[in-house]
Symmetry: C3
Subunit: 474 residues, 3 copies
């Protein structure tokens, strides 16, 4: 966090340094072009701007020249095109001068898939003799100017010419970024869409939890607010603030956690059925598998809210009033409640199970932090995410079961034939646990393990390959 000040000063002092520098040319003196040019200048590159009005551009740093496009292009074999796609066509006139040069396309669009082809491919069509590299489009002008790189440092690079790509990746590294090779220029489309995306992997998990949330909310509203109002004339609307959320959140957390493990079970069943791991899963399953981390983190968020809503219970006016009125009643009726050991057991057990479940849940969340998961090896990662994950699911499911306790399916708990929310929320986790229990039985586990090691049922070729060459990965 201390680097900003350090860097800014060093940039400033760097300007007069005298060692021989590589020259980079930037076409366009707009905001991003200037920021990138200045940054490269500060990092030791000699920078030349190309502009339509070279005389007019009020660039501040001394030592940076602004020339016409044609002149600037002659100074360097690497030209950064900091110009909007709509103005690219003037480059056709310069095509001859750009022959064999590396053109770096840094442009972004305003919408996802705005044009039929990516900007970089369009540039390649306009200047066929140049080597096009796509890069830097995920970096913001502000990040370049302020020197603080709190957001992503990743520069996605793609291009058909390997050496040009290497040159651009070297520049990115010198500027303090992390270049990521994304392959050929065809990848430019994806790279151009990337900065326009807003949490794409979170969309499905968020929509799913929103839908579940609304369903549970309406359900609770019926049971806890409308039913008492209709049948007993009670005004329970204030339940909307805490009581009802605290029924929705644990249900959601439990269901979403179970939905993290369900796709793995479906995949295992599919693999067992197909007898191979080399056929593709259906798309929805693939997408679901890739969203598991996000689903789990949303489940953790709801579990956290559930914990907080539970811990504030004794502070609530409603709860305090109810407790004291109960004491007053006992005295008035002179009828003291005796201590009930079973109740003490049940109450303590479901609380303890909940705490342990939440503790493991938090542990899973912490190990999913990128910097933590990078320090564990593959075996450890699987141990945490699979073994500890299922233990968490078991603890949380038992927590809910014990919470239900004696009154679980007693008909007195039904209102308009609707059971409590926690009964509903047990359906998915119990299904997942039962299926998992079946799958870990040796008769299913053994063939599955072999399939996952590359073995294929009914496939002569692969069997031979397996016998002959074997693989090294367990």
């Amino acid at each position: 966090m201390e680097k900003p000040s350090l860097k800014e000063t060093s940039f400033a002092t760097n300007m007069n340094s005298s060692h021989k520098r590589e020259t980079v040319c930037v076409f366009g003196t707009g905001d991003f072009g200037r920021s990138l040019g200045n940054k490269m200048f500060q990092c030791g590159y000699s920078v030349v701007f190309g502009s339509r009005n070279p005389g007019l551009s009020g660039l501040r740093p001394q030592g940076i020249e602004v020339l016409s496009y044609a002149e600037a292009a002659q100074r360097s074999d690497l030209i950064i095109i900091a110009i909007h796609r709509e103005h690219y066509n003037f480059l056709t006139e310069l095509a001859e001068k750009l022959q064999g040069k590396i053109l770096v396309d840094i442009s972004n669009n305003l919408k996802i898939n705005q044009y039929p082809e990516s900007n970089a491919e369009y540039l390649a069509e306009l200047v066929p003799g140049a080597k096009i590299v796509k890069a830097f489009n995920t970096i913001s002008a502000w990040a370049l100017q302020s020197g603080t790189l709190d957001a992503s440092r990743q520069v996605f690079v793609c291009g058909d010419d390997k050496e040009s790509k290497q040159r651009v990746m070297d520049i990115a590294r010198t500027l303090g970024f992390t270049p990521m090779d994304q392959g050929s220029l065809k990848a430019a489309r994806e790279i151009e869409n990337y900065p326009l995306q807003l949490f794409p992997m979170w969309k499905f998990p968020l929509y799913l939890s929103a839908a579940l949330c609304i369903f549970y909310f309406v359900y609770c509203l019926l049971r806890e607010v409308i039913y008492p109002y209709v049948h007993e004339g009670k005004d329970n609307t204030f339940f909307l603030a805490i009581s009802i959320p605290n029924r929705i959140f644990p249900g959601l957390a439990l269901n979403l956690l179970a939905l993290v493990y369900l796709p793995g079970i479906i995949a295992a069943i599919l693999q067992l059925y197909r007898g191979t791991k080399y056929s593709h899963f259906p798309n929805w399953l693939d997408h679901w598998m890739l969203c598991r981390k996000q689903l789990g983190l949303i489940a953790l968020a709801f579990a956290f809210l559930h914990v907080m809503y539970t811990l504030v219970i004794p502070i609530r006016y409603y709860v305090r009033w109810r407790l004291s009125s109960r004491v007053i009643n006992q005295i008035k009726t002179n009828n003291t409640d005796p201590f009930n050991t079973t109740n003490a057991w049940l109450s303590d057990c479901y609380v303890a199970l909940g705490i342990l479940g939440f503790f493991l849940f938090v542990l899973l969340g912490i190990t999913s932090l990128p910097s933590v998961s990078n320090t564990v090896n593959w075996r450890e990662f699987r141990f945490i995410q699979s073994k500890l994950g299922y233990l968490t699911l078991i603890l949380c499911t038992t927590h809910t079961l014990v919470y239900g306790g004696k009154r679980f399916l007693s008909p007195s708990i039904l209102r308009w034939h609707l059971p409590s929310v926690y009964v509903l929320s047990l359906i998915i986790p119990c299904t997942v646990l039962v299926l998992k229990f079946i799958l870990v039985m040796p008769c299913f586990d053994q063939p599955l393990t072999r399939i996952r090691q590359g073995w294929e049922r009914k496939s002569r070729v692969s069997k031979k390959a397996q016998l002959g060459n074997g693989n090294t990965e367990v």
Copy 2:
């Protein structure tokens, strides 16, 4: 975390390996020189020490030679100067032999800005024919010896000769560090100050919160302890442990959170007023902007403490005693409090708002972890820090407003004309929210957006450049 053992063994076994090695020379056999030399030896370099008393130095690893300075210098073109700055002058005698060699200055000082010029620049003056590179000064001997690199792995490198710098950066990378190019040798001064700094970016936020904390503490002491003692003779001193901190902390958290967003608003107003984003902000504003993350994290710390202090309320002896004495009073006076739905609403609402605000606050804190913020793109980062941040501020401010509830400005709550602390702590957040509300109105938002895209009011040059070249960054 498992790497230490792995590495140490591999280092040990490495000593007998026979492949051709690059030779590095280390001047000085002090603690750091030895540690660095051994580490390079373990990582496959051939190491030669230069010493004043080559015969006497009891270096353990076999295979490392200790020679006189002059002899050692001839073995390698890269010499690490592991000597205190005060003893540099002997190098002038060797100046001829050091001609054209790379000298790596790894020295630190005892105080910030101890000498007029940096040690590396001083070395460059003494040995004008050598290529000076500053590096490794942020690494500790202990970290090199133990092989555990829990502290920073960043090696800041600067120097005027690009190739020499590259050589040193390669060595740093081989030793398992992350080299950071900091530009020309002029940056050495900053790099030498760096390991002497203790959370420089945290100083202003910490002093500010300490000052606010003391102010609120004295204020609360007056209202909650001295006033009751003077007027009612009550001994409320035990409030000092929990009750008063739990009034100070939420106030601080709310104010500091608001102060995170205030500089952004001031900057926006300045930009609107000046009509350009290219003039520099005043220094205090720049510094404030750079401290926002730290301010936010301190606010989160206070919010966390507030949550903990609130959740323990029902465990406190004082609260238990008050609740039971209230029940006993109701029975004695035979005057049962009726249930008040408005109170239930207010109590549940402010608790729920507080929980949601804290939840978002924790989310903001998690996304400010470097490894998390590195995985989001710029649009996502801004979404979290700006949208979610303001939502947090709104929730926390409303939480405080609802907490005040009916008694907000009723004169009965004033003691010595002083309102409650929460009333004071609402001033800054409400101001920020009102200003932000004004700024998001289209009449201000539209010009501001254009200015931030590089547009400049009243500037012919830039306008043309904008029209002609445009920039690619939104």
Copy 3:
């Protein structure tokens, strides 16, 4: 998190790209061989498989050839051996064709130290003319296939030939991994054991806490459940769920935290006694020092559980029943408890100290996250882990002392002559704090500081070296 989709698409589109590619040969078409081959193909390499049955292998991606081993070997000077160690012997027949080529051993074993020599060294014996590099064994086929690299991205590389190692490290980097140079081929043994390890650094801390946990559990069982049952016939078994864990956990947390700082104190005493820091510590102390982070994190986990178990106290049926029965008793006996200011002070103080201790503990935990500890310099890291750590220990110890309060050693608290658990758990932390207090006194601190800067008592050689060359590190 959004990268998977991005990458997969770019991989797909990459296949038709036309630029000249480096050719890599893979021996073996098993699961891992195929995954690695496909991944390299997607990242721009030209890939040739060598197989015993070249005609049969049903490889999907077009553009990848499958040849016989001999033919495939001629296509590239870099061959990845994706074959089980047991089948290596066929390579002796090809020895001539593999002369001078780089062979990359990616194999793993099923058990730690399964064979007398590492697989890579065995390969080097079989094909003496080849340059053997060990790499990629820590990567899983699944990670290669799915493109999601949530687990470790580190590829440990070792080998005797520096250039070959560099080639392999370049490939690893291109595939998106982080290559880590581990030295000569002798390190292969450790690298092969690495993916078989399951949290090796956590073993000792976990066993230690399990042993302590069992001891405390039996102790509590005796005092809290069996004693009341024998002497008063009370059934307190439900204490097993919450009450007893909430006595064990804080004791464990406090003891483990103290055990984090004990080895440092022992090391300081040893260094003072020996008068040098250059002699090795005993092995048990070395191992203990390396486990401190893990010990601290386990202590934090127990502290977290203690906090949760404490916060749910007012929700427990048992506690609610006891509180209301106490109120009922007061009314029945018409004997109201007066408010006791000392009790209020003690209760509030121990709660406040506990909260502050836990807060600092969480802070220590956060700064031990790899991505956070990488951003602080060495001085800051030591400040947090040492100063803040001791402050945490002091706060938590005081918390326990105040919790004991008046009844600390009153004989009435003894049951079967056993004091409460918290008395036991204070022994280690108090010892550590007393020893630390002695060590920071100048008469011990000054020589210790000098020793840690490299000074040696009674050693003529080092003293001279120290005087002559000095070191640069404080």
